[in-house]
Every structure is written in structure tokens, then in C-alpha cells.
């Protein structure tokens, strides 16, 4: 095996959190190496117009996604079933190459609510422990919203997030989200102008007494230079956002916000086509010595390092920890062990609105998040859950993210799937249809987890990750409640017709339907090494020179999109590494 020259820090995976870690550590004067299994990729030439405006290549065939042919996961609904491979993309989408899933996200950029960070304590205190179903396994993050506030702020200013504050230092502001935790300063950019459907939604929501506000968006609304000196262009609402790279340099990604500066640092090296297969430990098992990866020629390479940062996508982080033998694997029968524990997801519903031909919706004039309006009245614990009997919630969104005809053409219920009537409905509906969505949390449960599959292998012969997951009653109740509120708004929007898509009790998790790519858990952070894999600085309890970033740290999922929370947790973690850990390596929190 080839043994490379040792480095101070090795980062596994080069998406959002890998780039943040590298950028912030570069100033500490140490050698940083990032290993990315994919290729190098940048706005130009990889996302350049007009090639980026190709629905088939990117939206349908998944040109920016990790090829499942080489590696996927397996899925089963219950503990006693045999899992089968997730063979084609459906319910969630892995990223690949430099930038990872930070390329094809939509820029929907939230902070969690304060109670989300201390969910178990908060729910117990407000409703009593019995309010939670017996097998629900929610936990606190071990860090509060107030402690994270400066880091949420830092990430928003790096991304050039567009939005309007609703709670500025405790003062509730008109036109923002009155339910949000206090923020110390305004968003770096004003909101993107509303699309027409969002206006209709906001007017209707206001009539019902809700508090609509512009969806916080890392689609820059105007030219912007971030604190690193990287420059973003204004979003032009091109309609090619989720599943696409941004040719306008306006959707925040590592490429637009960090790499132009980081790639020039002499103490930073990026090595692409380097597929990490394990974190190596010394003979005590308490200290990492570096990583092993497979290079572009298929050769095994050992990379020694003093500090290992596992910064791949959530599922890949969990798999790497299991393959490396760091932390005890979770056992759903006994509820003990921590790696693979508390896998969670999100649950969406949608309502399509069909208008007459005199209403021009222009669905193509859209951005992934800019221009939409939402209400947050029924998210987190912003309302009294007592009478409703479930934990969690979500936001309700009005507007659209694009009008690409293969994937985003919605037809009235009862339309045949093909033939002359289908075609007429397509012609009559396309310009006059929009949607309202609910985006809801999923809690964690004793029997929902991740481990290594006993049968299926990746192209290197290594075991695939196995997911055991299905919906629980709590989530069916949550989505019913949220969808009923959404329907009230939809009725107020006065379409000719509307149609709900909702997951009902008895519906199994369906891997064919896109839900969200917001998969979470498996290497969760918390206060206690018996119930979490990481401390609140995302440092492994078991191996102190291993840190694990990303949504794998979430003890349960939130109703919001995860990227804002991921960024905030990463900035807090890297500050502690830079200011405390590097000077005195060891546990940052005493167990």
C-alpha cells in the first residue's frame, strides 16, 4: 500500500461542510488535505448556460448525482424484512463530486427554532413525558439556539442569504417570521421578489390570520460579496435550481462562496478521485492515525493525519463510521449502541391548484427558494400540540421552484395518464397550475436505524449501508394536521380545482416518490456518550481526533430544510477545533 506524506488534517468529502472546515482551518497555519471521491467541478464550465438548462440530463437522468451503479444503499420497512437495493433514484438524491449535494440543493436556508435544539427537554416540560409515544427516541442536541446564533449568522453571510428578519434582538418585525429565534442582525440580502403564486398564497394566508413571509433563500437577490471576498450574482429566476448547478453564481454553494478563495491557499490541498474506505485507528482504538482511500487507478493509499474530519453526506458518514469500527453500532433490540441510531427523514404533502386560462401563473419563472412565501405558524412548537396529539410540525409554502415539463407538469385529478385527453390537459393546465406544499419533521424511533447490509456490496466489494425505515403514526397525524391548514389557505386562493397528495395511515414509505433529500441521523450529537456518538462540538466521544459534520448529527429531523443548521453546527465545531483543540488535543467535552 502506498503511504502518503502525513498531514495535520484530512477531510473526507468535499461538499458544504468539508469546504467550511478547510476554509476556517486554513488560517490556523496547518496543512489541510481534502479527499473527494468525485471529480473537480466549478460553475464554469460545468454549469455554464445553456447546457445547464437541460431538464433531461440533470433533472431526470441525474447528471449531478452520485451514480448508483457504483454505490447505493439497501432499504427495508421493518426489522424482520430483507432489505433490497435502492436501484434507481426516487425518494432522495445523493450528490457527487466537489460541492456534493451543495450543488443541487434549492437554497432553502433556515435556522432551527430554539425548541428544536432541546426537543426532548422542551416536549417533556411542556406536555409531559407521556405525550411522546413509547418508542419515540428524540433527544436534545446538547447545544442551544443562543449558543449557535453567531454561527447561523456567519453561514448566512457566507451564503448571501436573502430574507427578512422577523425577530431582531427580541423585537418582532413586520413581514418577517415572528416565530423565529432572535437574530442579532438582518439577513445579508433583501428577499427575492415574489412569484405570482406566492403573492396569491400570502394574501390568502394573511386573510386567515397567518403570518406569511418570504422564504429565506440562498439565491442572492442582488450582487453580493461575502466575508471571504467571494462574489455572487443576482438570481434571475431561471427555473433550473433543484437538481441543477447555478450558472448565475447566485445560488450559494462551495463553488460560489468558498472555493474561489480557498483554492489559492498554499496550505490547502484537494485530492479528487480519492474514495475513502476507512478511518484508521491505532492499536488502542482510541486515536485515529489517518484514513485509507482508493485512488483513481484503484490502488489503496494510506494517508496519515493527526486529525480526521468525516464530512461526507449523512448516509456516507454513517457507513464510514461503521466500516471503521468507531463507536458501538446501534442495536434496535436493546436500544444500546450509537452508530446508526436515530435515522430520520421528512414528510411532505402537496396540493396542486388549477386555475382557469385567464390566470397566468408562468411556472417557469421561478427559483429554488427565492420568490416563494411561507408560513411558520404550524412548525416546531409554535402552536399548542396538546389537542392534536403529535410531536413536530412543518412549514407551508406557496409558490413554485420551476416549470420544467417532464417533471413538473401537474394535471387535474382524473386525467388519463396518456392519450388525447392527457395531451389536452397538458396544454390547458401547464401555464395555469401551481402548488402549495407542506414540509414536515419526522421524529426518531427505536426501530428506525442504519447498519451494514449483510448481502449487497458496492463496486469495491464493501458492504452497502442498510436503512430500516417506515412512517409512524405521529407523522401521519402531523401531515394530516398540516395539510388541513394548507387546504384552508388553498381554498382561500380560489382555484378552479385543487388536488391533495398526502401520505395516509397505512401508506408505507415509498422509495419511488421524491420526498426530500433531507435524510438525517446515524452519528448523532448529544450530551451523553451512552446515547449519542458525538459531543456538541461534533467530536467523537470514542476517538477524540475524529469529528463528524453534517445532518448525520441530527438526533431527529426538523420541519425545516437542514442546510442552515448543518452550516451553523459546522462553524461552531471548527471554531472550537481552531481555538481549543489544536492547542490541546483531547475531548472538548468531558463525558
Amino acid at each position: 500500500m502506498t503511504r502518503m506524506k502525513p498531514v495535520d488534517v484530512v477531510i473526507v468529502g468535499f461538499g458544504w461542510t468539508g469546504a467550511i472546515m478547510a476554509m476556517e482551518l486554513a488560517d490556523a497555519g496547518i496543512n489541510i488535505l481534502a479527499l473527494e471521491r468525485g471529480d473537480y467541478r466549478d460553475t464554469s464550465p460545468d454549469f455554464a448556460y445553456p447546457r445547464s438548462a437541460d431538464e433531461l440530463a440533470y433533472g431526470i437522468r441525474g447528471g449531478l448525482f452520485q451514480p448508483l451503479a457504483r454505490e447505493t444503499i439497501t432499504i427495508r420497512h421493518t426489522l424482520d424484512e430483507t432489505a433490497v437495493p435502492y436501484r434507481q433514484y426516487g425518494s432522495f438524491l445523493f450528490g457527487t463530486h466537489v460541492g456534493g449535494a451543495g450543488i443541487h440543493w434549492n437554497g432553502q436556508h433556515y435556522r432551527p427554532s430554539p425548541e428544536d435544539m432541546e426537543l426532548e427537554s422542551h416536549i417533556t416540560q411542556r406536555y409531559g413525558k407521556k405525550f411522546m409515544p413509547e418508542d419515540m427516541q428524540i433527544q436534545d442536541y446538547g447545544v442551544s439556539y443562543d449558543e449557535l446564533e453567531p454561527f447561523f449568522d456567519q453561514f448566512e453571510y457566507v451564503c448571501g442569504t436573502s430574507g427578512r428578519a422577523g425577530n431582531l434582538n427580541g423585537e418582532i418585525k413586520d413581514g418577517g417570521n415572528p416565530f423565529e429565534g432572535p437574530r442579532k442582525r438582518e439577513y445579508p440580502n433583501p428577499p427575492v421578489a415574489d412569484n405570482y403564486a406566492a403573492k396569491l398564497f400570502a394574501d390568502a394566508a394573511r386573510t386567515l390570520g397567518h403570518k406569511p413571509f418570504p422564504q429565506p433563500s440562498s439565491n442572492a437577490s442582488q450582487p453580493y460579496t461575502n466575508p471571504y471576498g467571494a462574489r455572487l450574482g443576482p438570481c434571475n429566476l431561471c427555473g433550473y435550481c433543484e437538481r441543477f448547478g447555478c450558472y448565475m453564481y447566485s445560488k450559494a454553494s462551495p463553488q460560489t462562496t468558498i472555493l474561489p478563495v480557498l483554492m489559492r491557499r498554499s496550505n490547502f490541498e484537494l485530492r479528487t478521485n480519492s474514495h475513502v474506505t476507512r478511518v484508521n485507528l491505532d492499536n488502542t482504538g482510541k486515536r485515529a492515525t489517518g484514513v485509507t482511500y482508493i485512488d483513481a487507478q484503484g490502488q489503496q493509499v494510506e494517508q496519515p493525519a493527526d486529525l480526521v474530519i468525516v464530512a461526507a453526506f449523512q448516509m456516507h458518514n454513517v457507513r464510514l463510521m461503521l466500516m471503521s469500527g468507531i463507536g458501538k453500532p446501534y442495536d434496535p433490540k436493546t436500544g444500546t449502541g450509537v452508530i446508526g441510531k436515530n435515522y430520520a427523514y421528512q414528510m411532505m404533502s402537496s396540493i396542486a391548484l388549477f386555475y382557469d386560462k385567464d390566470v397566468a401563473i408562468n411556472p417557469f419563472a421561478s427559483a429554488g427558494s427565492g420568490g416563494n412565501q411561507i408560513i411558520d405558524d404550524f412548525n416546531s412548537d409554535h402552536f399548542d400540540h396538546g389537542p392534536h396529539g403529535f410531536v413536530g410540525g412543518g412549514y407551508i409554502l406557496g409558490g413554485q421552484t420551476g416549470g420544467r415539463p417532464i417533471q413538473q407538469l401537474t394535471l387535474p385529478p382524473g386525467t388519463p395518464a396518456w392519450g388525447e385527453k392527457w395531451k389536452r390537459a397538458a396544454k390547458d393546465s401547464y401555464l395555469h397550475t401551481t402548488g402549495v406544499q407542506t414540509h414536515g419533521s419526522v421524529m426518531s424511533y427505536r426501530d428506525r436505524y442504519l447498519d451494514l447490509d449483510p448481502t449487497y456490496k458496492d463496486s469495491f466489494g464493501l458492504p452497502l449501508l442498510r436503512m430500516t425505515f417506515d412512517w409512524h403514526d405521529n407523522e401521519y397525524k402531523m401531515t394530516r394536521f398540516l395539510t388541513d391548514r394548507a387546504q384552508e389557505i388553498v381554498d382561500q386562493m380560489k382555484p378552479r380545482q385543487s388536488a391533495q397528495t398526502i401520505r395516509k395511515p397505512g401508506d408505507h414509505y415509498d422509495t419511488r416518490q421524491y420526498q426530500t433529500t433531507h435524510t438525517t441521523g446515524g452519528v448523532i450529537q448529544g450530551k451523553d456518550p451512552n446515547t449519542s456518538a458525538l459531543n456538541n462540538f461534533q467530536q467523537s466521544w470514542d476517538v477524540h481526533n475524529v469529528f463528524v459534520t453534517g445532518a448525520s448529527a441530527f438526533p431527529q429531523n426538523i420541519g425545516y430544510n437542514p442546510t442552515g443548521l448543518i452550516g451553523g453546527l459546522t462553524y461552531r465545531s471548527v471554531k472550537a477545533i481552531r481555538e481549543t483543540y489544536l492547542k490541546n488535543p483531547g475531548p472538548l467535552v468531558q463525558a
Binding site: 448556460y49 445553456p50 447546457r51 438548462a53 437541460d54 431538464e55 433531461l56 431526470i60 437522468r61 451514480p67 448508483l68 451503479a69 454505490e71 432499504i75 427495508r76 420497512h77 430483507t82 433490497v84 437495493p85 435502492y86 436501484r87 434507481q88 426516487g90 427575492v192 421578489a193 415574489d194 412569484n195 405570482y196 403573492k199 434571475n236 429566476l237 431561471c238 427555473g239 433550473y240 450558472y247 390566470v359 397566468a360 408562468n362 417557469f364 419563472a365 421561478s366 420568490g371 416549470g403 415539463p405 417532464i406 407538469l409 396518456w418 388525447e420 392527457w422 395531451k423 389536452r424 397538458a426 396544454k427 401547464y430 401555464l431 449487497y456 408505507h508 415509498d510 422509495t511 419511488r512
Partner: protein
């Protein structure tokens, strides 16, 4: 656009592509009328010779997509927009070869459908096996291949496949139908550079501006009808 209905290339296209099927049953009188006098003439372009599909498969594909998205007064059908060419070209792509999917066994085809596709067939194999099976079924039931059936009977067969009422020995009828319909719509709506959606016919019909991908000036005019027709990735305008 020099490609009139009577031009040699148009005649060649009809002759080569509709071997076993009378032209009228596929293109329909309304489509021909539209292509002669309508604002958006249907143009078939030079005849396309399939690379993957065999002659009988090619007849099946044309006869099937013509029913899935028929030509009508609302707009062009899948056949006029070149969807068969799109499908054939996709078969030689990584997609057709199953290169985008995890295709390692063991395969457990009787898994609950919610766990997704679990067959061992890559798209090109699904087409080859599916077409032969359906043609065989039609031969036994109607003494004709699918492509030789009149339109109403082709619709009946397609409905039977869609609902799974027709049982095929080689593969689930619904899996074949579902892929055929999905790919047909892809070819109908994708950028013309992939061989379908000739002259952006479907985009014009529904009002999608294609690869314009810049509506900064229009977002401030909510509810106003967007005035510009589509452009393609290669810069064709309409």
C-alpha cells in the same frame, strides 16, 4: 423550414418508418391538415435509421408512441415529434444500458412495489423483452403484431399492459408499460437535441419557453402572460 409534406425526405420518412402501418392510422388526418396549413408545421426531418431497435421493434415503438401521445388538433403527437428516434438514441446511452442504476444481484422481483424497481432488466433489455412478449401476445390473440392492429385495438392492448390485465411470461407488463410511457413523455418534452420534441413542438403547445432560463424582468409583472416563444439549448428559436 423546407421540409414540406411532399418533399422527398418526408416521403422517405413515411415510407421507411411506417412500413407495416397505413400512414393515415398513425399520423391521422388532423395532423396532416395541421402540417399543411397550420402555424406550426410538423416536420419529420430526414429519415432516422434506428441503431438499437430491430425492424419489428421499430414498428412496435412507432405504433405505440403514436397512441400514447397521438396527434390531434391540440398539437403534435409523439410520432411527429421524433419520440421513436429519442427512444432509440437513449438505448445506446448509459441510461439504456442500465449504467445509471445499481444492477447487482441478488434480484428479488416480488418485493413490495414501494421498495422500487427490482428487475434484472436494463432499459434496453426491458424494451427488447417487452416488445417481443407483447407482439407474441397480440399474435396469439389477434393473429397480428401490435403494429398491425387498428388504433382502437392498440389502445386496448396498452390499457391491458398499464393495468397489468395482460399477463406476460417474461416480465411484468406494468413495468414495461411504465418505462415506455415515462420515456415517451421524456422524448416529447426534452430538449430537441436528444431527437424528440422536433422544432420544440410540445413546448409551443403548452407554452414552456425552454432554455430561455432568465425571467428577471418578468418576476416584477405577476400574472402577465409571458410573450416569448421557446428557445432550445442549441439556440433554435420559435
Amino acid at each position: 423550414m423546407s421540409d414540406k409534406l411532399g418533399s422527398p425526405s418526408r416521403r422517405d420518412f413515411l415510407r421507411q418508418s411506417l412500413v407495416a402501418v397505413p400512414a393515415v392510422s398513425l399520423l391521422g388526418t388532423s395532423a396532416i391538415a395541421q402540417s399543411q396549413g397550420g402555424a406550426a408545421p410538423a416536420t419529420a426531418g430526414p429519415a432516422y435509421t434506428p441503431h438499437y431497435f430491430t425492424a419489428p421493434e421499430w414498428e412496435f415503438i412507432q405504433a405505440a408512441v403514436d397512441r400514447l401521445i397521438p396527434s390531434s388538433e391540440d398539437g403534435p403527437g409523439a410520432l411527429e415529434l421524433g419520440v421513436p428516434e429519442f427512444l432509440d438514441r437513449q438505448m445506446d446511452d448509459a441510461y439504456g444500458h442500465g449504467g445509471l442504476w445499481y444492477m447487482q444481484g441478488p434480484f428479488v422481483p416480488d418485493t413490495p412495489p414501494t421498495l422500487g424497481y427490482q428487475l434484472r432488466f436494463a432499459p434496453r433489455d426491458l424494451y427488447r423483452t417487452g416488445i417481443a412478449a407483447v407482439d407474441d401476445w397480440c399474435q396469439k390473440q389477434h393473429n397480428k403484431h401490435f403494429s398491425a392492429l387498428p388504433p382502437e385495438q392498440r389502445d386496448e392492448v396498452l390499457h391491458g399492459l398499464e393495468k397489468g390485465d395482460i399477463k406476460l411470461d417474461q416480465l411484468p407488463a406494468t413495468a414495461f408499460f411504465s418505462l415506455l410511457l415515462t420515456n415517451t413523455k421524456e422524448g416529447y418534452f426534452a430538449d430537441p437535441m436528444y431527437g424528440g420534441n422536433k422544432n420544440m413542438g410540445s413546448w409551443k403547445m403548452i407554452g414552456f419557453p425552454g432554455a430561455r432560463a432568465d425571467f428577471a424582468d418578468w418576476i416584477e409583472q405577476p400574472g402577465k402572460v409571458y410573450p416569448l416563444g421557446p428557445v432550445s439549448i442549441k439556440g433554435a428559436k420559435s
